[in-house]
Symmetry: C2
């Protein structure tokens, strides 16, 4: 059915109690990118939240394949959504509802890569942060505040330690040529994993460790990563302005390496 | 329409991003109890979350009146639910969806008053705690852990300070005859307000202040309050067993005072 017609009962725990998980993957050339990683995480999220998935992994994979064939939206996104389901007492998980939807999204062009993203930091820790829950309450609530601050996104930190943006992971490149990224209290993105794998090709050692917010302004480069945007250099964090990311920057080189990796992924599966 | 048929689009921010607020009130003798307090809080929650309500206060009140007349469920509950609505980019609030539903719920009998409730404490702070959001992620997630601990409900605390149960406020009666209840980082319940107003009739001074978790075991009585249950004495908190609440207890006397107050409320509006 069309996305506009897809509905869920108001008694679903996903609506009444905000109890749900999801995953979102990008489709390019009608190939679902890094499908295995997204399915891994989807089933991990479901398991941790004690939500049984009524489809097996291969059945869910087939549904995604069928959506792609029937919709023929070569550049798009697919969302798998699993909610607590209808509940007699509005509190106990009974039978989860699963929805798989596909929609057109823009390809991650070089626009953001050149423009960069302006971040503001905010002290907040997501609950169950290693699970991809539907809890974006704070992220949505902060939208007007972001606008007031002429920012594109928020960077969460807690007790001085940086964790993540609501829909992206963060990296910094240090003077001694290390690629550093937070190691805990956040969601480990699929693109984050790819970037860590590609860092070696840019002669970077990767370090997963706690990063203090005050460290970030001393970084050579800072960038965020996500499945829909690949890499976006951070041009501003609070009051600190980073130099524009040049073509020779790590951000640009990793962006190109990631795009090449995607092309290979697509070609070997077409 | 019937509750089973009421639905929301999967693209609603309430489902996709857990962005929603609600309020729930009890109906007794076809009278919506403390309607003004619930409407106050509903509009406050909506305002804080920047969700415009498409009905005015008097229109919403009329809808509730019509539901009560048409459904004729004298002992029931009414839920007003307001979600972020359908969103083009899945992130920006566009036009909120409002649903008002009525369903049968049991009257708050003396069963729980006599049985009491067993609580276990858990270190957690709800986000935007003074708003009645649909975020019950942690509460639902903890359900199996509650069962393992033979507990009925969880008591949240943060940095040693007690805040609330997911759907109830907490009170303790001290040796020097004070009724003490948390003052911050939690939702201020409608029943909590009534209880504070009725405390004088039981010769109790009320104190709103931080309560350390370790203080609770020294209390003469501990009880929780909610719109659906009125008052439930706490019979156990973690390893500490409280003496059974007798008919002469503060819990029982306040329960009776609250029921009498409700009766007057109903009689003056019938």
């Amino acid at each position: 059915m069309s996305l506009q017609d897809a509905g869920m009962p108001v008694t679903d725990l996903g609506i009444q109690r905000g109890y749900g998980i999801f995953d979102f993957l990008r489709v390019s050339g009608n190939i679902p990118l890094y499908l295995d990683d997204h399915l891994d995480r989807f089933f991990q999220s479901a398991g941790f939240m004690r939500l049984p998935v009524k489809l097996s992994r291969s059945e869910l994979s087939s549904v995604i394949g069928r959506l792609i064939r029937e919709n023929n939206l070569p550049v798009s996104g697919i969302r798998m959504l699993l909610t607590g389901g209808e509940s007699a007492d509005g509190y106990q998980i009974h039978e989860p509802n699963l929805a798989v939807v596909q929609q057109v999204i823009p390809a991650p062009g070089e626009q953001w890569l050149n423009k960069g993203s302006q971040l503001v930091s905010y002290p907040f820790q997501r609950q169950l942060p290693h699970v991809k829950t539907t809890d974006y309450l704070m992220a949505i609530w902060l939208q007007p505040w972001l606008k007031e601050n002429q920012a594109d996104d928020v960077l969460y930190y807690q007790e001085g330690i940086v964790t993540e943006c609501p829909r992206a992971n963060i990296f910094m490149v240090t003077d001694d040529h290390k690629l550093v990224t937070p190691r805990r209290n956040m969601l480990k993105g699929v693109t984050r994993k790819q970037i860590m794998g590609l860092a070696g090709a840019c002669d970077l050692d990767v370090e997963e460790r706690d990063i203090h917010l005050s460290e970030m302004s001393g970084a050579k480069e800072v960038f965020i990563t996500s499945s829909t945007k690949r890499i976006i250099p951070v041009s501003r964090l609070d009051d600190h302005i980073f130099p524009a990311a040049l073509d020779s920057s790590i951000s640009h080189r990793l962006w190109a390496a990631l795009r090449a990796h995607e092309m290979t992924y697509i070609e070997t599966r077409s």
